[in-house]
Subunit: 304 residues, 2 copies
């Protein structure tokens, strides 16, 4: 255990994101070693899904939130790996033919195309399970009560009241004709809960007060929704070649989006307002929260 | 929290199994409440999968093991519910078309037939996640370190090194031509780890010594294999009408079974030897382990 803090808080957001992305790949590589038996096929698929070089936003949020409370970097990276495993499992299952039926993810074949459907289902299951192994291990935090809190937070964010419930609503969305409130609830559950959970894991690792946890959770919900709306905008404005996945699927499926509800300019304005809301939740942390503040505005500015 | 112990240890096995089955249904019903939003579809599917009246062997093992250490019944039932959620999730995913492709489970339509494939995938994911919510909650044990140990044990038993790894091997088994050692390793991973994990969860709840945990874990591995071999025997000897599911599938798929490796009588003899091995691991607990001893012999005697 080194005493280097999780994140240098005055640094540039893009530099920190890139640096945590590299550290995350190394951590996941270490936490998901190949095994000698025939069951290595599922481990191969887990590694394919987890080591694919996403932008690692959730690990960044864990590490940056932990950095506010001087959490040692090695601990923050373990919690970050756990939440990234959950994020990656959700992508593997969402891509399945029975769900969103996607053949490509970040320009590569999805796990069920690279391996097969059964392996993809099992790889998702095992990534979700392994996330809890990582959090429950004493290397993540010496205090068992903290480890149990980390587990409770991750499970709450990713279960039927969070991510999985949001995915269920999303699959039914074409028949629901959701208004802005319904759409907001769907997105908060489907992606916001895990993003807020990332921030809260960092705070829990740092034995933060309930008020500080809640402030970081509220930041996460607002910035997560800003990212989601920016994605809706990107989905409309860009082509498949640029994003590496099929685009315009929600609109084609007859699902409401923030763009269809608010119009393109209205959606952009709302995303910016949400980023400002997110930033206001960081006020108690002052200049130390600089990279988190930058992150909230990154999504809404990346297309301008 | 009542101070009634988890299990009356001198009781009759079948009486205790039946009594814990009823208590388990009530506990799962309480832990998986319906919700008002459209995401209730996944909750409905979780309840359909979890409240279907299986024999509740794993909850019995948690409660009976916990009973050796005078664990309060309310705590044992929570840990038992968690492991039963994991068992039920594994059945939902195993039944999927991409996996074993079963239309019936205990005489009822499988979850993907009753609902749809996407809902079945999500219901499995959410049951697995909810299991960790239950274990991490202070109602399961007041000591956070104990809760973290419960989480670590369940995750280890059910992940790529345990149940999911075993299911991966099972899917590849037709091409592996497994010998008895390979078949034993497959079954220990696929079903033995979670059965041993059930016993170990009870011991962890009771702050048992490492030696007592390991003895109960070894009991679970031996009795789990005895049950599996008895299932192989049952699979050959019975018809679909009697078991409520398709039979002879492993043999038809060209997979080795203990019956194909050892012959019908050889398999029965081996199952009995394993039950005796299981019983020997209970020696340190004397007469208090009576229901666990009875359980080990139940499987191998149910056809005679």
């Amino acid at each position: 255990m080194t005493n280097v803090a999780a994140v240098e808080m005055s640094a540039d957001f893009k530099t920190v994101l890139s640096e945590i992305g590299s550290a995350m790949n190394a951590e996941l590589d270490r936490l998901l070693p190949v095994v000698p038996g025939p069951e290595n096929q599922v481990v191969d698929a887990m590694r394919y899904a987890a080591l694919d070089g996403g932008k690692r936003l959730r690990p960044f949020l864990v590490c940056a939130s932990a950095g506010l409370f001087d959490v040692p970097r090695a601990r923050a990276l373990r919690a970050a790996a756990a939440i990234e495993m959950v994020h990656c499992y959700s992508l593997v299952h969402d891509d399945l033919p029975a769900m969103d039926d996607d053949d490509l993810r970040r320009g590569r074949p999805t796990v069920h195309k690279k391996f097969d459907e059964a392996t993809a289902i099992l790889a998702g299951d095992a990534l979700l399970t392994e996330a809890f192994t990582v959090l429950a291990d004493a290397a993540t935090h010496p205090d068992g009560a903290v480890r149990a809190n980390l587990v409770a937070e991750l499970a709450h964010a990713s279960g039927a009241k969070g991510m999985v419930g949001g995915q269920m609503i999303d699959l039914m969305a074409a028949g629901l004709n959701l208004d802005q409130a319904g759409l907001t609830r769907l997105q908060n559950m489907k992606t916001g809960c895990l993003i807020a959970g990332s921030c809260r894991l960092g705070a829990i690792l740092g034995n933060a007060s309930a008020a500080d946890r809640d402030a970081l959770g509220a930041y996460g919900i607002a910035m997560g929704l800003a990212f989601q709306i920016a994605d809706d905008v990107l989905d409309v404005e860009s082509s498949a070649a640029e994003t590496g996945k099929a685009t315009g699927k929600d609109a084609a499926a007859g699902k409401a989006t923030f763009v269809s509800r608010l119009g393109l300019e209205g959606a952009k304005t709302y995303a910016r307002e949400l980023a400002e809301t997110a930033a206001r939740h960081l006020t108690p942390f002052g200049e130390r929260a600089s990279v988190l503040r930058q992150a909230a505005f990154f999504a809404v500015e990346r297309r301008s």
